[in-house]
C-alpha cells in the first residue's frame, strides 16, 4: 500500500475505535500488519529538487563562462577544457558512490551534472575542430554514454533526461530522412532498471514518476518512430498500446492511487475512440495508398508491422490474464484493439469507410455508460464523472458534426451541461448518503 495511504489509515484508527466501528485489538492488528512507515517529508523533496536544479545551473554557468572566452584559447587549451566538465562530473559521481551513495540529493545532482557534461564535452570538441553537424548522431552517442549512469546511481532525474533525449533523437533521425528503429534499443537499455525499480520500490514517488514518463515517452515515441509506409496502421497500433497500459495498470498497480498506467490507458482509450468517430482518420488508408516516396524508408516499415502485432499480442495476453482472474470489468477495455483491427480491415474495403464511425460511436456510448455505472456501483465519484465526461464529449462532438443551427445547438449544450451538473450533484448526494447509512 502507498505509504501515504497507511499514514491516513493510522490517523483514522483512533476515531474508528472511539466510534465503536472497530475494536481496539483490531486497530492494533492493523498497525502490526502494516508496520512503521516514514512518508517523504516535503523538506527532503525540496532539497532534492534544489540539488538537481543547482547543479544543472552551475554546470550551465561554467560552460557559458568558458564559451565567452573561447576564442582567446589556443587549441591545446580548448582540448583540455573540453575534458574538464566530463572529468569533474565523473569525479563527483565517484565521490557520491564512495561517500554519499545513500543521499538522494547527491545521487540526483551528480548524475545530472555528469549527464550534461557528456554532451558538453562532445559539443566543445566539435566546436574546436569545426566538426560538421549531425545532431542525430550527437544525441545518440550522448544517450548511449549516459546509460551506465542510470544504473550506477539509480537516478530518476538522469532517467527522465534520457527519456527526453530518446524523443529528441528519434524526432531528429526521422527529420533527417532516416529511420528511428534504434529507439527500441534505447528503451530496452533502461528496461531492466525500470523493472528492478518496480520490484523493489513499486509505490515510491520516483518509480511512479518514471512510470508517467515511460507512458508519455511511449505514446509520443511510437508515433515518431513508426515509418507510416502503410497508412492508418497507427490506428491498430495505438489502440493496442493504450489497452496494454490500461490492463497493465489494472493488474500490476491496482491499489496504487496516482499510478499512470490505468490513467493513460483509460484516457487514451476514450480519446482515441472519440478520434475514431470522425471520418478523417478512415479515408485513404490501407495498402492501396502505400507510401514509397523518398522520405519513407521502406525496409524500416517492417518495424510498423512487428510493433503492431507485438502490441496486439501483449494486449491479448493481458486480456486473457484478466479473464482468468475473473476481472470481467476489464473486458470492455480489452476489446478496443479488436474493434480497431476489424474497423481497419473494413475501412480498406471500398465503401466501408463509414462503418468504423458507427462502431466507435456505439463503443464509446457503451463504454461511457459502463464507466458511469461502475463509478456509481463502487461509490467512486471520479470514475462516475469520467463516464459522464466520456458521454458528454461524444454527444458534443456529434452535435458539432450535425447540421443543426446555432439555436438548436445552444439548447442542446445547455441541456447537456445541466444534465452533467445535475448528475454530478445527484451522485455526490448519493455517495454521501450511502456513506452515512453504513451500519455501525
Amino acid at each position: 500500500m502507498n505509504p501515504r495511504n497507511i499514514v491516513w489509515l493510522y490517523g483514522e484508527l483512533p476515531r474508528l475505535v472511539q466510534a465503536g466501528v472497530i475494536p481496539e485489538d483490531a486497530a492494533e492488528r492493523i498497525r502490526y500488519h502494516y508496520g512503521p512507515v516514514q512518508p517523504v517529508a516535503p523538506a527532503r523533496l525540496a532539497l532534492l529538487l534544489c540539488s538537481v536544479l543547482g547543479t544543472a545551473l552551475i554546470g550551465g554557468g561554467v560552460l557559458l563562462l568558458l564559451a565567452h572566452n573561447w576564442e582567446f584559447f589556443g587549441r591545446p587549451l580548448r582540448v583540455f577544457l573540453s575534458f574538464l566538465p566530463l572529468v569533474t562530473g565523473q569525479a563527483l559521481v565517484g565521490f557520491t558512490l564512495w561517500r554519499k551513495s545513500g543521499s538522494a540529493p547527491w545521487r540526483e545532482g551528480s548524475s545530472i551534472l555528469l549527464a550534461l557534461a557528456i554532451g558538453a564535452s562532445i559539443a566543445l570538441i566539435g566546436q574546436t575542430y569545426h566538426i560538421p553537424g549531425n545532431l542525430a548522431n550527437f544525441l545518440f552517442v550522448w544517450l548511449l554514454l549516459g546509460v551506465p549512469l542510470i544504473y550506477l546511481l539509480g537516478s530518476v532525474t538522469a532517467t527522465l533526461f534520457y527519456f527526453a533525449g530518446m524523443l529528441g533523437w528519434s524526432l531528429q533521425a526521422q527529420n533527417d530522412g532516416g529511420h528511428a528503429l534504434w529507439y527500441w534499443l534505447l528503451l530496452a537499455a533502461v528496461l531492466p532498471f525500470l523493472g528492478n525499480l518496480y520490484q523493489q520500490r513499486r509505490n515510491a514517488p520516483g518509480t511512479l514518476l518514471l512510470g508517467w514518463a515511460l507512458c508519455i515517452n511511449l505514446c509520443v515515441g511510437f508515433g515518431i518512430v513508426l515509418e507510416k509506409v502503410l497508412p492508418g496502421l497507427w490506428i491498430v497500433g495505438y489502440a493496442a498500446l493504450v489497452t496494454c497500459f490500461y490492463l497493465l495498470g489494472r493488474s500490476a498497480y491496482q491499489d496504487t492511487p496516482g499510478q499512470p498506467f490505468t490513467v493513460f490507458g483509460a484516457v487514451g482509450t476514450v480519446i482515441l475512440a472519440l478520434v475514431f468517430t470522425f471520418d478523417f482518420g478512415w479515408h485513404e488508408i490501407g495498402y492501396a495508398y502505400y507510401r514509397t516516396n523518398g522520405r519513407y524508408v521502406e525496409w524500416a516499415g517492417i518495424q510498423d508491422y512487428v510493433l503492431t502485432v507485438a502490441f496486439l499480442a501483449a494486449a491479448a495476453a493481458l486480456a486473457v490474464r484478466a479473464a482468468s482472474r475473473r476481472d470481467y470489468g476489464a473486458m470492455p477495455w480489452a476489446v478496443f484493439p479488436a474493434l480497431a483491427t476489424v474497423s481497419y480491415v473494413i475501412a480498406n474495403i471500398e465503401g466501408g469507410e463509414d462503418i468504423p464511425l458507427l462502431i466507435f460511436n456505439l463503443y464509446l456510448l457503451v463504454l461511457g455508460i459502463i464507466i458511469l455505472r461502475s463509478g456509481i456501483r463502487e461509490g467512486r465519484l471520479k470514475v462516475a464523472n469520467g463516464g459522464l465526461a466520456a458521454l458528454a464529449l461524444l454527444f458534443t462532438c456529434r452535435f458539432f458534426d450535425s447540421d443543426l443551427g446555432f439555436v438548436e445547438r445552444g439548447i442542446a449544450f445547455i441541456v447537456l451541461g445541466v444534465g452533467f451538473l445535475g448528475a454530478n450533484l445527484w451522485l455526490s448526494r448519493k455517495f454521501s448518503r450511502d456513506t452515512k447509512e453504513m451500519p455501525s
Partner: protein, 191 residues
Amino acid sequence: MIMSRWALFAVMAVAQLAVPFSMIYQREQILSQGAPYKFRCGPVDPYDAFRGRYVALTLLDTTLEHWKGEPFNGDRPVYALLGLDEQGFAKIADVRYTKPGSGDYLRVTAYAFGGDDISLQVTLPFDRYYMDEFQAPAAEIAYRNEARSEEGAHVVVRVRKGEGVIEGLYLGDTPIEEYLLQEAAKAGESP
C-alpha cells in the same frame, strides 16, 4: 555488489573519456599529417542551439557539370578525388563509389540531376566554422564584402584518408580572426 558498482563506474568513465579522446586523436592526426587544400566558399549564419555559434559555410565549385559518370543518388557515401585548379584552389576531379588507390580524397555524398545534360552536386563534409557568438555576425558581414572581391573567402582543410578537418577560414589571405581584429582596430582609430 560494491565491486560490480565500481567496475561499472570504471567502464562508464573509460567509455565516456574514450569517445572525445578518439575524436581528438583522429583530427589531430589529420591536422598534423593531412595535405592542405583551399576551398572557395561563401557565407550564411544560422544559430545551432546545441553546439554554439558558427558561420555556416557554403562551399563553391561543388557542382560538376556535363557529368558522364555514375548516376549517384545520395543514398550512401561516395569518394571525391581532389585536385587543384589554376589558382591553386581545390577542385573535385572525380567521384567514385570505391576508395581511390592513390591521391587525396574525401568521403562525400553526391546527387546527379538534370535531364539530357546531367550535373553532379557534391556535398562536402564541412558546413561550419565555429566562432565566438558575438563575432559570427560580424564575420558574415565581412564575408559578404569580401565575397565580391577577387580574392574572396576560402577555408583551408587538411585532408587525410578520406577525412578532412578545417584548419582556418580566410578572407583574402588573412585569417578571419585577424581580419576582424584589424577591422575593429580601424573602427577604433577612425574619428
